[in-house]
Symmetry: D2
Subunit: 358 residues, 4 copies
Amino acid sequence: MPTKMKAAIFVEPGRIVLDEKPIPDVGPLDALVRITTTTICGTDVHILKGEYPVAKGLTIGHEPVGMIEKLGSAVEGYREGQRVIAGAICTSGHSNAALCGCHAQDGPGTRHGFKPVGGWKFGNTIDGTQAEFVLVPDAMANLSPVPDALTDEQVLMCPDILSTGFSGAESGKVRIGDTVAVFAQGPIGLCATAGAKLMGASTIIAVESVSVRQEMARAMGADHVVDFTKTDPAAEIMRLTDGRGVDVAIEALGLQATFEAGLRVLRPGGTLSSLGVYSSDLKIPLDAFLAGLGDHTIVTTLCPGGKERMRRLMAVISSGRVDTRHLVTHRYKLDQIEDAYDLFANQRDGVLKVAITP
Amino acid sequence: MPTKMKAAIFVEPGRIVLDEKPIPDVGPLDALVRITTTTICGTDVHILKGEYPVAKGLTIGHEPVGMIEKLGSAVEGYREGQRVIAGAICTSGHSNAALCGCHAQDGPGTRHGFKPVGGWKFGNTIDGTQAEFVLVPDAMANLSPVPDALTDEQVLMCPDILSTGFSGAESGKVRIGDTVAVFAQGPIGLCATAGAKLMGASTIIAVESVSVRQEMARAMGADHVVDFTKTDPAAEIMRLTDGRGVDVAIEALGLQATFEAGLRVLRPGGTLSSLGVYSSDLKIPLDAFLAGLGDHTIVTTLCPGGKERMRRLMAVISSGRVDTRHLVTHRYKLDQIEDAYDLFANQRDGVLKVAITP
Amino acid sequence: MPTKMKAAIFVEPGRIVLDEKPIPDVGPLDALVRITTTTICGTDVHILKGEYPVAKGLTIGHEPVGMIEKLGSAVEGYREGQRVIAGAICTSGHSNAALCGCHAQDGPGTRHGFKPVGGWKFGNTIDGTQAEFVLVPDAMANLSPVPDALTDEQVLMCPDILSTGFSGAESGKVRIGDTVAVFAQGPIGLCATAGAKLMGASTIIAVESVSVRQEMARAMGADHVVDFTKTDPAAEIMRLTDGRGVDVAIEALGLQATFEAGLRVLRPGGTLSSLGVYSSDLKIPLDAFLAGLGDHTIVTTLCPGGKERMRRLMAVISSGRVDTRHLVTHRYKLDQIEDAYDLFANQRDGVLKVAITP
Amino acid sequence: MPTKMKAAIFVEPGRIVLDEKPIPDVGPLDALVRITTTTICGTDVHILKGEYPVAKGLTIGHEPVGMIEKLGSAVEGYREGQRVIAGAICTSGHSNAALCGCHAQDGPGTRHGFKPVGGWKFGNTIDGTQAEFVLVPDAMANLSPVPDALTDEQVLMCPDILSTGFSGAESGKVRIGDTVAVFAQGPIGLCATAGAKLMGASTIIAVESVSVRQEMARAMGADHVVDFTKTDPAAEIMRLTDGRGVDVAIEALGLQATFEAGLRVLRPGGTLSSLGVYSSDLKIPLDAFLAGLGDHTIVTTLCPGGKERMRRLMAVISSGRVDTRHLVTHRYKLDQIEDAYDLFANQRDGVLKVAITP
């Protein structure tokens, strides 16, 4: 076996480059996975731009599809050569947070319990997936075998986009017959639209201005598409709902404008489910918040992970109820990843997601 | 029967006066209740000061204890002379909001469903309880008979303070073994503290600077009291929890400072349960919100009403598990209500709540 | 206006006949509805056979579609001539049970609170819908306007079958990615299958032996159909799930065999959601129940009612996500209702539901 | 370090004897704990009597309090010498069941997901705690440090009795103001009573005939005690609730009589929360079940485990809200454990729980 591998490495703000790194050693609870397909996420672009700080020299990426190359000495229940995915968020399974079901907020298993570290490790606190190999910690909690009938691209969105998008609807507690607004139809917003439909929303209003994304929103389940460049989206949503407002608003962008519009269209008793990663303080306007008297809920969700989550998402894909293949608009070899970043960071050529194959 | 009654009437900002009014006619679904005890709420002071607008000539007050004087022609299941309370929030029982269990957001039973009106009617959209009589709408949904063994003062807090305070813990979904912080120990904060204890919190941290309220907080269940005039409350709460933060923070004041501190002390995955009535826009600091990645929930609750809620609260009082009698620090006749407003609005003499008896 | 109307009346076990009755007086909270379409339910057949006792002379039927003929004096928010439906279960909105959200268990609004009466009134405790007119109690809580774009037959299943069927999935708390088994694919089972799909189940296994119902099960969302006359359904479901069992089993028949099989296929931690009306004691086998150690839930649900529920169900129909028109296999005039009972009670000619039009 | 230890070993039905065994080797994820206090459970008596089968030669017992003697090579976050407890139910943290929050149904981490094995391992599928040492699997998920201020006997009930008893109230979803009946006041029933009080029940009715347990029931929070040898408990509970029935019934014995009475006293919409380990088929009487029309829930719960659960239970003990010390009525050295079994199995001398100290 070789001892070196190629990896996309953060050098400094503005520079992620493909370089060589040693293939890591495998600890007792780890698994080394040979990446067959991975992708680039909007968060990686934040890292590239220096907006989200990570250590210099870190391998980027958090969406692995691959084969088990080597299992740690204490790992049971898997075999080398098995095809697997792992969630973007790794849970230890044994931290206090994980034992409460809050896997995305997984921290060290100390007596202090919860620590605001979070379970996002790949490409954040440990080396990530845009490489020939990735070391998956707590393999028994995170590795989920891929059904033979599914291709890499069919499951590529499960580790992050699909899990996050669905969680927007799940945390919003969408019920049969709900009216749901989804702000922004990028990859996560599109998956949130699919999630709202999957949970029984009877009316889904997507807010988006890019025509290819508007079309895809309809394909994923949107009944109405509101173009915020042509009309005030909050006013239009109130009109579409006969002044009733929505039961659930899902924020899938991370801006003040979408957060605030989500609040404005909520019916009393409704829920604003926020998926965005914000980069500045937020304002809650007094009137949109009904002065705190509206029985409103605002809930944020970090991508749910763990192998059981991955198993369930792949079951949805297997069932044909949701298909995310059309989200992959471009394909690159790992060797070309710098080109892929260039395309993706600049949102050129109608790109939604790129598939990267080592 | 007389045709006129005394009532505390909003004249203009700065003036609530006792005056005469006709005793109202009783519609088919109404009940006329002879008030035996009522009280003044902080919200009434907002009205007095002109900070919360109501119609000139409106009778103020929303916490009724009394006897049924007359029942509407379509009201069944009650008898005249029966001793009753009604929640500060009146539900129709039949609006779309009510049928969803969102009684506090009750609106007219139209096809449009939810309207942002809210169920707070007494002393807001209809004549209130600081009078000799009050007309209770939708009597069958709102009137709850008072057990003989309970005095007026024992049940006086049920219509608003106790229902609202408990809802802070309920909407926060306090679980056995939780650590809870309650910001401000006025009447509502004290009842929130009692509610958190009642739901099984193992550690309750109250934030309050007034010594008599600090003492009462301990009596209601607080394990620690933090004086925000002597220490930064967020820092102190993090110290008291070994850096872990709290599972649930309850905001019971309505200020940016308490709202923000509540967010700052939340563990990842925790809930900020907000009871305050705000009077300006709120800011969510990016770091306190963990950039939207903390699996946080922010929930607001308007006082739960309806006769079943009142029945349950009186069951708690009957059980002796919570005693709110010591919250009544001063007593006035209705004739002296202007003096009572003067004392209460200026928070003199250690006042917590006043009992008003016509 | 005429004073007499035709109605299908229970005379004695074995005899439901069409006869004349006075058109009822309208109380202050009532609405008189002119029936345009109604149907016959399996429960009506139990009444016909004398298996479920009702008063002699009662009008049968509990699924109304019609026009408002006359409104009670205290009813607001509707107009005569408006097209409406009401749920099979009428809620008062103001009983203690209703105020807890348990509308199907609505009882009189007395201080005693819950009484085991239930909200099923039409054709059970008051005159029902198989007539030219029906008196709807508590009209403001129960009448839901029908969108113009929907035909009578499109909304005919909302009052009972669709509400009950969906509730099987709702009470089972079906989640995205669940595996669900639905036992029996009569009208309620078919709607339960649709409900499980609507809530995001990724695998639905329907148990049914009649071929036309098997086909319809697939159309409603079933991924697998198990014929219990050809294989042991519990064993087959365990095989289909690789020994894992199902997350939720829905019982839609009311027999020991289906109840027991539902328990046997539950994964540890799973839920058996029971919709059937049973007619004898049930047995819980020790092994199927894992001796009480399996973290199992068994939940029963009576048809959810109230106008908000109806509004939501019609929103689902309007969205096109579920279509129940093909459940109507036969159509009769009210004058022919005795023939309709004969067909339906004997399950002849592949009947699923009949539409009855006065 | 010695290589042999004393342990209470199941030899054959009727015989559990103290014998010598090798001290086990410590695998990478394990911890070897030196037992300082343990106890005997009713389940152990079932094993003794041969009613619950375990392997011959197995060490019995599942309630460990002790010191960490040796940590596995992959275990982090603990130190040798640390004082700890572990739940009776061991979770791996990484099984599909565990990742769903269903820790008590933990199975091997295979692709098949849930297996009906259950997380009860100590004294069931692996050597237990009635010994000088016990090997704790998946130590990082299970070991919870004991606060210095708490004695062994203060935390001795946390691993099983307190966790199980509280879960009766938790799974029953007891709310503020609920009326709760608890059937049987043995150690688990007493802790269920404490749990119901801790969650805000306003009226708790305990069913018990033994006078010392009746007294303790009152001390733990019961408002009424019904002696089933003197009155029909279901009838008496209906009388005490004015015919309303209870919101939640907790079954804490495992017999048909208590299960059935629990159903009979439920209000429509109520929950029967079952903790008992049954030894024969159960019958659900048609009338008690309201023919399946009562919106009833029956839920069973196996003792919740994992270190976060233990941390929370010890927080409750530390707060002084619940005190289980008086449940320890007798104390024995490990050398005398055969005498302890004799006393406990025969329920002599008012025994509730025995403390065993090696």
